[in-house]
C-alpha cells in the first residue's frame, strides 16, 4: 500500500525525524492562507501516489503567499501519470547545502532489511544506481540484532564530512529504521535529506510503502489509505479479496491464481490482443467473487470481451460455473464471455454452463484466441 508524502512525513515525525513544518490544503485559498501564516517562502507539492511529481510540474517553490496561490491553481486538478491532484502539501522552504538519499527496503536477495544511502541525493536512486553505483552505500541489517548504533554512525560518516552533521544523520538513520519496522514498511525513503547551510539536517521529502500482508495488524496505517486516489475497480476488488490491476487493452480476463492470470494476460498479447486487466480471483470457491470480478470488468467501457480461465485445483469449477449463472442473472451482460474451466469438478461445471449457451474452450490458447476474435 502506498501512502502520501504528508502521511509518510507524519509517521517519520512521530519517530523523531526532523521534518520542516507543513500543512495539507485542497483549495488555492487554503494554500494562500497557510503560506501567509508561514510568512516565508514555501513549496507547494502535489500529493499523488506516483513518483516523478517534480518533473511533471507538480512541485513548485513560491516566494510568498500570492505566488503560492498561483502555483496551487496550476497544480490542483493537474493530471500526473493519470492521477488527478486533489490536494497539495505546503511546506516551509529550506535552504539547501547538500542533498542526501536515505532509504530502507526489504531486500529479497539477503532476505533482510537493507539501508541504502548516498551523498548524491535529490535524484532517483535508480538513476544513481545506473550511472554511479559506487555512490550508493548499502548496509544489510540483521533483523534479530536490529540496527546497531555503530552501524548508523559508520554509514552516516560516509555521507558527510562534518561530524556534527554526521551525528544528526546517524540519529535519523536509526529513526528511519525504527519507522520502517514499526509500520511494517516494505520501503521507507527520505529523498532528499537535506543539510542546510547552517548544518541542520531535515527530511524534505518522504515515501513509505506498506507491506500489504501486515495491514491486518496496522489498523492506523490502513486508515491512511486514500481511496479517492485509487482506481475504483481496484478498491472494489480488494474489498472482495480479489487482486485486480487495470491495463489499457480491450480483452478482459478473469483467472484463478496470480501466475496463471499473468500468463493469460501475456497470451492475449502474444496472440495479438490487448489485455484489459490482471484479475486473480484467488483460490477459494466463492461465487460472489466471480460476480464482483465480472462487474468490475464491465465497468471499463473499453473492454469488448472477457475470457474466464479457471484451472480447478482448490477452486471447484462448478462453483465458478454457478457464480457465472448468478452473475448473468444479476448483471446486464452484453459482452461476449468465453469460458474455459478445467480441473476439479469440470464435468459438473460444464453441465451447469451447458444451459447458458456461452462460447467455451478446452485450452487457454483456444479461449484466448476466441476472446480476441470476439473483441474485434
Amino acid at each position: 500500500m502506498k501512502i502520501h508524502e504528508y502521511q509518510a512525513k507524519e509517521l517519520f515525525r512521530a519517530d523523531g525525524v526532523p521534518v520542516p513544518p507543513g500543512e495539507v490544503a485542497r483549495t488555492a485559498d487554503e494554500v494562500y492562507n497557510i503560506a501567509r501564516r508561514y510568512g516565508k517562502p514555501v513549496v507547494v507539492k502535489s500529493q499523488v501516489l506516483v513518483g516523478g511529481r517534480g518533473k511533471a510540474g507538480g512541485v513548485k517553490l513560491a516566494k510568498d503567499a500570492d505566488e503560492a496561490r498561483k502555483h496551487a491553481e496550476t497544480i490542483l486538478g493537474m493530471d500526473i501519470k493519470g492521477l488527478t491532484v486533489d490536494k497539495v502539501l505546503i511546506t516551509q522552504a529550506v535552504k539547501i547545502d547538500t542533498e542526501i538519499y536515505l532509504g530502507v527496503i526489504m531486500d529479497r536477495a539477503s532476505q533482510r532489511p537493507v539501508i541504502m544511502a548516498s551523498a548524491a541525493g535529490g535524484v532517483e536512486i535508480e538513476e544513481v544506481a545506473r550511472e554511479n553505483p559506487d555512490a550508493i552505500q548499502r548496509l544489510t541489517v540483521d533483523p534479530l540484532h536490529g540496527l546497531l548504533p555503530f552501524q548508523s554512525r559508520v554509514l552516516a560518516s560516509k555521507l558527510h564530512d562534518d561530524f556534527k552533521v554526521i551525528r544528526q544523520i546517524a540519529t535519523i538513520i536509526e529513526k528511519l529504521y525504527r519507522t520502517f519496522v514499526r509500520v511494517d514498511a516494505s520501503l521507507a525513503e527520505i529523498n532528499p535529506l537535506v543539510v542546510t547551510p547552517e548544518g541542520k539536517v531535515l527530511a524534505i521529502d518522504a515515501k513509505i510503502n506498506i507491506d500489504d500482508n501486515a495491514l491486518y495488524r496496522q489498523p492506523e496505517i490502513e486508515s491512511l489509505r486514500d481511496l479517492s486516489a485509487e482506481d475504483p475497480g481496484e478498491v472494489a476488488a480488494r474489498e472482495m479479496g480479489l487482486s485486480f490491476v487495470r491495463l489499457k487493452g480491450n480483452v478482459g480476463n478473469i483467472v484463478n491464481g496470480a501466475g496463471l492470470a499473468m500468463a493469460t494476460m501475456d497470451l492475449i498479447k502474444t496472440y495479438g490482443g490487448e489485455p484489459a486487466n490482471f484479475l486473480d480471483i484467488g483460490g477459494s470457491s466463492n461465487p460472489e467473487k466471480v460476480i464482483t470480478a465480472i462487474d468490475i470488468i464491465l465497468g471499463d467501457p473499453s473492454v469488448k470481451s472477457i475470457f474466464i480461465n479457471i484451472f480447478g485445483g482448490i477452486t471447484r469449477c462448478d462453483d465458478v460455473a454457478r457464480g457465472l449463472v448468478t452473475a448473468f442473472e444479476k448483471l446486464d451482460i452484453k459482452l461476449p464471455i468465453v469460458v474455459r474451466l478445467t480441473g476439479t469438478n469440470e464435468a459438473e461445471a460444464k453441465e451447469i454452463l451447458a444451459k447458458m449457451d456461452l462460447p467455451t474452450a478446452d485450452t487457454m490458447d483456444g479461449g484466448v484466441k476466441k476472446a480476441i476474435e470476439l473483441a474485434s
Binding site: 526489504m106 529479497r108 536477495a109 532476505q111 533482510r112 532489511p113 532517483e124 535508480e126 540483521d142 533483523p143 534479530l144 519496522v181 511494517d184 516494505s186 507491506d211 500489504d212 500482508n213 501486515a214 491486518y216 495488524r217 487482486s243 490491476v245 491495463l247 483467472v255 484463478n256 491464481g257 496470480a258 501466475g259 496463471l260 492470470a261 499473468m262 500468463a263 494476460m265 501475456d266 497470451l267 492475449i268 498479447k269 502474444t270 489485455p275 490482471f278 486473480d280 483460490g283 484451472f311 480447478g312 485445483g313 482448490i314 477452486t315 478445467t342 480441473g343 476439479t344 485450452t363 487457454m364 490458447d365
Partner: protein, 295 residues
C-alpha cells in the same frame, strides 16, 4: 527418488482441524502420503478421520509419531510462529502453504529455521508432489500429475497446474513438482531446487516456471550455466505486467526497471536455457532439449 519428500516422509499437518487443513489432509492421505499426525493447539487428543492423532503441539507430534515433515495451513498471523515451532520440534522439511505472511515475520523466522537446519518450502506456495512415490505435501491436485522424469519448479500455483497438466497430457510424467511460493522472502529458492533435481537420479530434465519480481530466476540462470548437467526449459509469466503494481503474489512486482520478465528471459537465453514464449510451447522445447523422455 524425488526431491525433499519421498516414501519415508512422515507428515504432520499444522492446522489440521481448520477448513483448508482438514480438506487437504484428506486429499494427501488419499493420494498416499503417510499422514502420521495433526496439530491444533487445544484439540489434542482428537482423532482426524477417525485415525490420525491430533496433538496440541508439533513437539508432541514429533515425539509421539516420529513425524519428519510438516505442512502448515494456519492463518497468516500465526504462520511464522508455526514455522518456528516445526523447526524447533525437529522436523526436516516444512512446507508452508499459508498466504499473506508479513515479510518482517519471515525475515525473522528464516534465520531461526536455518539455525535449526531445516528445509522450509514457501510460504504462499502449493507445496510438493512426488508422483513416482505417490506422496504429496501441500495442495497440488493429484489428478493432473503422472510419474515420470521431469522435475517441475515454479513460483506460482495454478500456472503450475496448467503446465503440469500439459506435461502429463503430452506424455511427460514428473519426478517431483515443487511450488516454491510467490512471496518475496521464501525458504527455498530456484537454486536450492535445481540442486536437488541435479542430484536426484530419477529427474532427467527440469521445467522452471518463473515470474516477474526479484532476481531469483537470473541467479538460477547463472547456476544452470555453471553447475547443471540436466536440460532445463523455462517459462516466465508477467511479460505484459506494468511497473510498480503487485500482480497478485506479494513477490510479483516490477520495481523501476528491475525484475522484468524480459530481463529474466534474457538471463536464461544467455545461459542457453530455452525459454517458452507461451505455456503450450514448453512440451515442444522439452522434446528438443531432452529427447526420449516421453512415456
Amino acid at each position: 527418488m524425488s526431491a525433499f519428500i519421498d516414501k519415508n516422509t512422515r507428515l504432520v499437518v499444522q492446522g489440521i482441524t481448520g477448513r483448508d487443513g482438514s480438506f487437504h489432509a484428506k486429499q494427501m492421505m488419499e493420494y498416499g502420503t503417510d499422514l502420521v499426525a495433526g496439530v491444533t493447539p487445544g484439540k489434542g487428543g482428537q482423532k482426524f478421520e477417525g485415525k490420525v492423532p491430533v496433538f496440541d503441539s508439533v513437539h508432541e507430534a514429533v515425539i509421539e509419531t516420529a513425524a519428519n515433515t510438516s505442512v502448515i495451513y494456519v492463518r497468516a498471523a500465526f504462520a511464522a510462529d508455526a514455522i518456528c515451532e516445526a523447526a524447533d520440534a525437529g522436523v526436516d522439511v516444512i512446507v508452508c502453504i499459508t498466504e499473506g505472511v508479513p515479510v518482517i515475520d519471515m525475515a525473522k523466522a528464516l534465520p531461526f529455521v536455518r539455525e535449526k537446519g531445516c528445509r522450509l518450502i514457501g510460504p504462499n506456495c502449493p507445496g510438493i508432489i512426488a508422483p513416482r512415490d505417490t506422496v504429496k505435501v501441500g495442495i497440488l491436485p493429484a489428478t493432473i500429475v503422472g510419474p515420470g522424469a521431469v522435475g517441475v519448479v515454479s513460483r506460482s500455483g495454478t500456472l503450475t497446474y496448467e503446465v503440469v497438466f500439459q506435461l502429463t497430457s503430452n506424455g511427460y510424467g514428473q519426478s517431483t513438482c515443487i511450488g516454491i511460493g510467490g512471496d518475496p522472502l521464501i525458504g527455498t529458492n530456484f537454486i536450492d531446487t535445481l540442486e536437488a533435481f541435479e542430484s536426484d537420479e530419477d529427474t532427467k530434465a527440469v521445467v522452471l516456471i518463473g515470474e516477474i519480481g526479484g532476481t531469483d530466476e537470473q541467479e538460477a540462470a547463472d547456476y544452470i550455466k555453471a553447475k547443471m548437467s540436466k536440460p532445463v526449459v523455462a517459462f516466465i509469466a508477467g511479460q505484459t505486467a506494468p511497473e510498480g503494481k503487485r500482480m497478485g503474489h506479494a513477490g510479483a512486482i516490477v520495481s523501476g526497471a528491475a525484475g522484468t520478465a524480459q530481463e529474466k528471459i534474457e538471463a536464461f537465453e544467455k545461459a542457453k536455457v530455452p525459454v517458452a514464449r507461451i505455456p503450450s510451447e514448453i512440451t515442444k522445447l522439452l522434446g528438443e532439449a531432452a529427447p526420449g523422455l516421453k512415456v
